[in-house]
Subunit: 367 residues, 2 copies
């Protein structure tokens, strides 16, 4: 009895693999006769039946009903995937398509992720997923104020990574370009790096003093800043191409679809999932992660599989892209695709160093 390292004989191993692959391909339970005739085995169907019985006892296979072929269990898929993981690699053509599709979007991370989710879906014909976790507690690292008209100004809030948010502030009294400059200077010198709870009344009063005569701008601006920061910290989840799953029989019932569609609402759970699987990190932390069935605790994904990889910038996790599909997913393609996609994004966003806060910069040049 030749044993492989996993406690399975070579033949059992091969049977398991073949069952998984056939089931992934056809979606139908596979029986001993089919296996026997597929050419990979020299023994008879009876022998295979015996082996399958054992694989079932070991928890790798199960039958939907007595008298139907076998279907892989979660454990079965897990075995298959693990033995596969060592040796995936992307096809050159896919890598090319991904690169060219991404290159067009030399935009902010948010947009890149949206695009990535769409891409993941269209390349695999499953559902695409992109996640951006909240960007730490840190607020912005610098502010600018641009005078748009006599009664409105544009507040530019700049993140350490160079991206920015803008908001329009309208006032009831006229403001000048000098007011705007003063406001920006005040914000930069007083609240950069502070969380909302650190902004105290005395501080506010000092800022308003600094900004006189346009002191009314201060509270508007600060409120606006923390509203925006909260939004930013909220994280985000993009799901694309749920409709592609409709053509797989495992999603023909309404409930499973409802679950997937509701996924956008439970974005916190998804964010946790990514964060958590990141922590188990170590060397494997950079790999493509695969969660099959109940391995994740989102019951909406209970009958699905999730393949994803984190996107990093400068060592920090800034997002993740992946694919949601049926448990019988074409793992080889999907794994390599997700890998390429994440790598492509990593490459695109580079690992630029972070920006300094405004203080240092401002001191030379503006005044």
């Amino acid at each position: 009895m030749k044993e492989a390292q996993n406690g399975l004989t070579n033949r059992q191993s091969l049977i398991l693999r073949t069952v998984v692959e056939s089931y992934i391909e056809n979606g139908e339970p596979v029986g001993s006769k089919f296996l026997c005739e597929c050419g990979r085995f020299t023994c008879s169907s009876a022998t295979i039946r015996n082996e399958m019985a054992e694989l079932e006892a070991l928890g790798y296979l199960e039958q939907p009903h007595t008298s139907s072929g076998r279907v892989p269990t979660e454990l079965g898929y897990r075995f298959y995937v693990d033995s596969l993981l060592e040796s995936y690699n992307s096809t050159a053509s896919d890598v090319e398509r991904i690169k060219s599709a991404l290159k067009e979007k030399r935009a902010e991370l948010d947009q890149i992720l949206t695009q990535a989710s769409r891409l993941a879906s269209s390349l695999t014909n499953y559902t695409g997923l992109a996640v951006r976790p909240g960007q730490g507690h840190g607020a912005f690292c610098r502010y600018e104020a641009i005078c748009l008209s006599s009664r409105s100004l544009l507040l530019v809030m700049i993140n350490p990574d160079g991206s920015a948010k803008t908001r329009n502030l309208r006032t009831d009294v006229d403001i000048t370009k000098e007011d705007a400059d003063t406001l920006a200077r005040t914000l930069n010198s007083c609240i950069v790096g502070l969380s909302a709870s650190e902004v105290t009344l005395p501080l506010m009063m000092r800022m308003e003093e600094m900004c006189a005569p346009a002191s009314h701008l201060v509270s508007m601006a600060v409120k606006c800043i923390y509203e925006t920061a909260i939004e930013k910290n909220d994280g985000d989840v993009r799901i694309d191409g749920v409709n592609r799953l409709l053509e797989y029989p495992e999603y023909s019932d309404t409930e499973s679809i409802a679950g997937l569609l509701g996924l956008g609402d439970s974005k916190n759970a998804l964010l946790d999932l990514v964060k958590e699987s990141e922590e188990l990190g170590g060397e494997a932390g950079d790999d493509v992660k695969i969660l099959i069935g109940s391995e994740n605790r989102l019951d909406a994904l209970g009958s699905s599989a999730l393949v994803f990889k984190t996107v990093k910038r400068g060592g920090r996790v800034v997002g993740a892209v992946g694919v949601i599909g049926p448990r019988r997913m074409k793992y080889q393609n999907v794994i390599s695709m997700v890998d390429s996609l994440a790598n492509g994004i990593n490459e695109l966003i580079g690992d630029d160093m972070l920006l300094p806060t405004a203080d240092t910069e401002r001191n030379n040049g503006n005044e």
Copy 2:
């Protein structure tokens, strides 16, 4: 035979209304016996049968099969909705909820619409819809460049309505704050108001000359500007809460869901729909629009109804919000809700005058 103005007797009219309302409520074909016993009529079921037969001949009702009750046709719904339209008004509590939910989001139009779509869905328990058409051909009306570090700057592109987009530009050679200012000045004086095809090689060369020694920034910036402008002009469609429709039996089949999910892809068609129903304008142009079944030509919505209202700023249509649901939709609630929602947004975004282009402003103050 008392005739109302529509060519229906009063009794026929009442029967039609009752059928529609009952079908909306229960989703089941309604028969003569049920009507007879509902209390609204003094005649017998046989009489009602005769009337219903006539209503069917006139095209207001139909039977799914011989020997089932009647169901309203598109025309039937249309009759019902039209006779209803004069007299809808929002419940005070709904208006309150909408206002308070919107007030929290004093953000850009894009975000407001996203929020509106979500709100529409949750308030009606149908699918929410928000549409933002492309913002004309016009590019931006002003640019600013903020120096972030020695090798990156933030390009701020400002729309006439005061909103702005930002993009990060990275270079291989060092740049100074003066370079950034020069770039902004050049952009503002040369390409404000120009469409991409109007940017000629000679113009580019002149701009690069003006920007020396940082002339390499010019082409990056211009490219970036037109990429962003294209994106902006593309319009956008938000669809939220498709899963809510799953609980209605008319969407229990996979195809109808697939159609709705695919709706995001065919955003152009939706944009057209809004634009077009706007054009028939006149006085009715400001009303809530209702498209039932094939009244719109999106076959994905063939078995659905669409209720929406445009959102305007300063007379121009800048978006639309609405609801997608089954044809047997609770029109009274939905109409009033959509109306309130659109009004709320209109109020929120105000009709601020548009900004002037940068030239005038720049001449006093900066230099």
